[in-house]
């Protein structure tokens, strides 16, 4: 038997096509919306990155599961809470690099291209800034990835990453609109004020890094820049402190809150999707009663005593009495004394991200503020203090927060009092700022950064100051209500969260989506 066969010569498309089709503004805006969605999505600010940032700090503790892993410092490089933010940041960076490269050939006006370029630089700088604070030096990419790229880059130094971050934010600030001149359709996108504010924070953080690495002159230069950028926001008159601290957290007043919120991630109850893929936020589920992320009792004690005695902000930010919807009983937490018939729970809860009618437990209306005018004033005060000590300008900025706090809901209180320079040194004022940030910004994802960047008077980080010294006297264990004596007995710090200080905890581990796969990547020491 004979079989004949023949074949036609087929032309196979062998090389990838790299031509980019002509882009119109509507296309580009869609892609940029996608980048905001990546940063605010489940793999970053909705869930994956806020978990380590809030729970690895000293003031929260997690009762079980992933929350407990972070508050007990048991995390590993494999954790999805590092993998996903890392991958998301680099996806945003690659998208920014790609659009930046092909922006010139887009079918759009010069003004649009200039504003878009700034927006892309903001998003890229934001991603690198998040990563350098969490992980240290990371590989820098400013060119889009294609088939001939080198996939395996080594880590750049912290200095190099900051150089890129600061350059991106400075150039972004130049081309973005002022908040009050932003087009209504672009509400929520970054503004000039957002770029300037984050530039100020980046310079401040970098200055702290330089100080901790014995580069005092470099640090002073950075602090001056931080102060100048903060001043430019203040002088621009685009933002103000809301008179009532509670209005920041009221979802019926969410739009108006952006007079103070300079940049935030916006979430909304999403009927079209549910749970993780919805456009809603979920931090409310974890932090509000009866969630797993709770306030450490020792921290709560500090936020209602000393400078903060009778501080309205504590009443707004925390809750110690609530209706437990599971058993329909009024429940109180430490340190409140229960009335007859009321049940008790050990720890207070955060009360900022409240939604009375979420669509499901990952579908809340609450936005997540990234930087507020209040924080900017504290950045100004901190930078000024690093340069000149607690002078008039520094105290004036700081005291605006105290004044606002006394204002409560219309009735003016006597506390918290404004600070005066009497008896205040650079070191003690820095500590005041640390504590003020602790109350003003509680639950907003800043605490862990403050711990690892700010210096205690002995020159070590605040993280070491707390974990190697200040936390030690607190009795291990949560408070228990003794019904005979009608007092709270027991400990003041969640069990297993008093983890002995190790230098490795000042950085998070590089995730395994990088370190196992990229042979040029080195892991952070200790992991």
């Amino acid at each position: 038997m004979m079989i004949f066969s023949s074949c036609l010569k087929e032309k196979l498309v062998d090389t990838p096509i790299t031509a980019i089709y002509s882009q119109k503004p509507s296309d580009i805006n869609l892609q940029i919306s996608g980048m905001y969605a990546q940063l605010s999505g489940f793999s970053c600010f909705k869930n994956a990155v806020i978990t380590p940032l809030i729970l690895s700090a000293d003031n929260f503790s997690g009762t079980q599961g992933d929350a407990a892993v972070f508050s007990q410092k048991l995390y590993t490089p494999q954790s999805r809470y590092f993998v996903e933010p890392w991958n998301t940041c680099y996806a945003v960076i690659n998208n920014a690099n790609t659009l930046l490269k092909y922006l010139e050939s887009a079918d759009a006006s010069v003004e649009f291209k200039s504003k878009t370029k700034s927006e892309l630089q903001f998003l890229r700088g934001f991603s690198y800034f998040l990563m350098v604070r969490m992980f240290g030096g990371v590989p820098l990419r400013t060119e889009p990835i294609n088939a001939s790229s080198d996939f395996y880059l080594p880590r750049n130094s912290v200095d190099e990453v900051y150089r890129q971050v600061l350059q991106d934010f400075e150039q972004a600030a130049a081309g973005l609109p002022l908040y009050r001149q932003q087009a209504a359709a672009e509400f929520g996108n970054c503004t000039k004020g957002a770029a300037q504010s984050i530039a100020a924070l980046a310079y401040l953080t970098y200055g702290n890094y330089q100080d901790l690495n014995n580069n005092a002159s470099g640090a002073q230069t950075s602090y001056r820049k931080a102060r100048d950028w903060a001043d430019s926001v203040i002088l621009s008159n685009q933002y103000r402190l809301l008179p009532n601290y509670a209005d920041l957290w009221d979802i019926t007043k969410e739009r108006a809150a952006y007079e103070e919120v300079i940049f935030g991630f916006q979430y909304t109850r999403d009927p079209g999707a549910s749970l993780a893929s919805s456009l809603g936020s979920e931090i409310g589920t974890w932090t509000r009663p009866n969630g797993q992320w709770r306030i450490q009792p020792w921290f709560y004690d500090r936020m209602i005593s000393g400078d903060y005695l009778n501080d309205y902000r504590s009443e707004v930010a925390f809750t110690t009495r609530f209706l437990n919807t599971v058993n329909n009983r009024i429940t109180v937490t430490y340190p409140r004394i229960p009335a007859t018939g009321e049940l008790t729970l050990t720890q207070p809860f955060l009360n900022k991200f409240v939604d009375p009618a979420p669509l499901d437990n990952r579908n809340y209306e609450n936005d997540f503020p990234v930087i507020r005018y209040a924080e900017l004033l504290l950045i100004k005060a901190e930078a000024e203090n690093e340069i000149n000590g607690p002078n008039v300008a520094a105290l004036a900025a700081f005291n605006q927060l105290r004044t606002r706090a006394r204002n409560t809901n219309g009735t003016v209180r006597a506390t918290p009092t404004s600070l005066t320079a009497t008896g205040l040194t650079k070191e003690t004022f820095r500590r005041k700022i640390f504590d003020e940030r602790g109350l003003e910004l509680v639950g907003e994802g800043q605490r862990w950064f403050d711990l690892v960047r700010m210096r205690a008077p002995n020159g070590k980080t605040m993280y070491e100051q707390l974990y190697a010294s200040e936390l030690l006297p607190f009795t291990n264990g949560l408070p228990v209500f003794n019904t005979t004596n009608r007092t709270w007995v027991g400990g003041r710090i969640a069990p297993n969260t008093k983890v002995a200080f190790e230098a490795k905890y000042l950085l998070f581990p590089i995730p395994t989506s990088e370190v196992g796969i990229n042979p040029k990547m080195t892991q952070n020491p200790g992991y």
């Binding site: 996903e84 991958n87 680099y90 690659n94 796969i517 200790g526």
Partner: protein, 337 residues
């Protein structure tokens, strides 16, 4: 090679082959800093070398007719090279959801079968603090009752370099035997098949055997009954914990099992009726048969013959919630007109 003997009652076929495949289509896992997770490349050369033997006999031919045919094949798979790339790690399992392992299982390493398992070795449980202090430095800070990971490269610490080859997804040999026995009007036909020597990664046990209560998932009875409760109580399963994933998100030989099996795949018993010539039927046959009747295996999961994510040549042999093959019975009548 074909051999026939004894007037066609006995036939043997033997084959030896060596096949080299180049320019494999592989999914190269990319580091996160590229902004991408994987990239399809043509890379690599794989060699498959093997021997197959097939035997066909009519054992008996009298009143009891017994035809037996069987085959056995041996194959070794070896990755020859990956071009310029050193080795490629497979995709991460458990990147989200409750598995919480987020580590690769497979590796494509030249000189080894493609898709070999790469992981840590577990050498029991730390019974007391003295053992921990005497052991290698482990950044996860183990306590008494936790798994003892082996310092494979002997450098005094546990890290990614202590991963080693801990299993082979490919069988040493596979075989099948078909029997067809006819006696008067009865016929019994059954097929036995088996794969011997392969390892399967029982990823279900990563969740079930760690005695970890964090996600409120089930724990296997063996793991709970055999948990560590104090010095000397157990050297296999760790202490229960509500935080701190016991396996430390490391893929290890603890969940790699020998999945060799011998299976009675099908069996059919039938009776052929003698039909008188004038009847409207030509043939009539009554039968009862079963599929997947019996499996002999040491594998602890539901079915050793699985393959989750089997779409890639790089990722064979992982059991994660794979649905086992069903056992079914049927009976009926075949009628011919």
């Amino acid at each position: 090679m074909d051999i026939g003997l004894a007037k066609g009652r006995f036939r043997i076929t033997m084959d030896y082959y060596e096949r080299q495949t180049s320019d494999l289509l592989l999914n190269l896992t990319l580091p996160g800093s590229t902004g991408f997770s994987s990239y399809a490349v043509n890379n690599g050369e794989v060699q498959n070398r093997g021997f197959e033997l097939e035997i066909d006999t009519k054992l008996t031919q009298g009143k009891l007719k017994w035809n037996l045919s069987g085959n056995i094949s041996f194959n070794t798979n070896k990755l020859l090279s990956l071009g310029n790339t050193g080795e490629i790690l497979g995709p991460n399992y458990g990147q989200s959801g409750t598995l919480q392992m987020n580590a690769p299982v497979h590796v494509a390493r030249p000189g080894l079968p493609i898709g070999s398992y790469l992981g840590y070795r577990i050498a029991g449980i730390y019974q007391n603090q003295a053992e921990i202090t005497a052991g290698p430095t482990d950044p996860v800070n183990p306590k008494p009752g936790d798994f003892k990971f082996t310092d494979v490269n002997g450098d005094g610490k546990i890290d990614l370099n202590d991963r080693t080859i801990i299993g082979n997804p490919y069988p040493r040999f596979v075989f099948g035997v078909t029997n067809d026995i006819t006696w008067k009007q009865f016929n019994l036909n059954f097929l036995i098949a088996g794969n011997i020597g392969q390892d399967v990664v029982n990823l279900n046990r990563f969740q079930l055997d760690g005695n970890y209560a964090g996600f409120r998932l089930n724990v296997s009875k063996d793991a709970f009954d055999g948990r560590w409760t104090g010095e000397g109580s157990s050297n296999r399963y760790p202490r229960p914990t509500a935080s701190g994933l016991s396996f430390r998100q490391r893929f290890s030989d603890f969940i790699v099992e020998d999945a060799s099996f011998i299976r009675l795949r099908t069996a059919t018993l039938s009776y052929q009726f003698n039909i008188p010539k004038k009847s409207i039927f030509r043939t009539a046959r009554l039968f009862a048969s079963g599929i997947n009747l019996l499996t002999l295996t040491k594998y602890a999961g539901y079915d050793p013959e699985i393959n989750a994510k089997g779409e890639s040549s790089l990722t064979p042999g992982v059991d994660f919630g794979s649905i086992p093959q069903v056992r079914s019975f049927s009976a009926g009548v075949n009628v011919g007109f």
